[in-house]
Amino acid sequence: MLADINADKIKALSEAVKNIDLKDKSDVKEFVKNYTALIYDHQMIGLIYDYYQENVEILKEDRIRLKGIEAVVQDKQELLAAFPDLKVKIENIIVSGDAENGYKIFRRMRYEGTNSGYTKYGPPTGKSLGNACLGLSMFYMDKKSGQWQITHEMDMRSIEWMEKAMTND
């Protein structure tokens, strides 16, 4: 059964990111892949509370700034509500830094999905994002009280592309 397969995947990924120790850059890349899959592909939005600093600020496109962890959660909820079948494909991850001083990460990925949920633009359109919807982000990870957390982030999506999918012609 598909649900069983997904349940097992989520358990395996959750185990992989739990109490993670980012000793080197390859650990960081593995963590980013698994964590990204959990949040977007498997809708494990609640894990944001595990890995974002509470007072995190995320700078986004068009002068938008998310202040605090609740704003980050809301942002992801709105995206997944609009595209409940959302999947992301990571194309590349660049890592700089080390375990002692923290890491800087640049992630490039593509969003794929269909607008089958209500959005601020109205009822679902049934339109697909296609496979060119680009997402770039740069974020910083530091060890805080023994736990690796994202302390700052800059995150941009192809908003025009998403709006096209969420609006009728």
Partner: protein, 180 residues
Amino acid sequence: MTIAEMLKERDQLVEYVNICELKTPAEVAKLFEDYTKTIWDFKLVGRINDFYCDDIIINREGGSDLVGAKQVFRDTLHLMAAFPDLKLKFIDIFAEGNEADGYNFGQAIYFDGTNTGYSKYGPPTGKPLTDGDVCLGLCECRVEKVNGRWKIVEEWVTRSSAATEQTMHMNESIEEEESC
């Protein structure tokens, strides 16, 4: 800053761009920060030729990809003409890779300037790009040796396009368009 001071700063950047051999990721990051400033802050637009391939592919956020260095020139000149005091502010840049396999670098920047020049949206609005918060831009570049020279062969870019366009739009003209 006097013109003499400005030229001194520019020449220091140009010198590093000219001599850098891209031996480490740290050198790559410094090179492309200095290089980008020479083009945007000091308007040495022709230096796009230094590191952009003739057939570069720029993957943009809206799917309207640019292909070829000529498009890069056109895009750069359009933004500069609209914002003559444009300055590019680096938030961060870092790279990964090596001399044998090439490099990838990621950068976060924002543009600072005021729309005092004509653009495809019409006459200048006098509006600043940084209005309340910054117009963020992120990009990743793939750098490889082509015919013995380091070149950017592919780029992935997201800019704050809606906010940038809004800066170049008079409110009145938007209302007129909407009422049509």
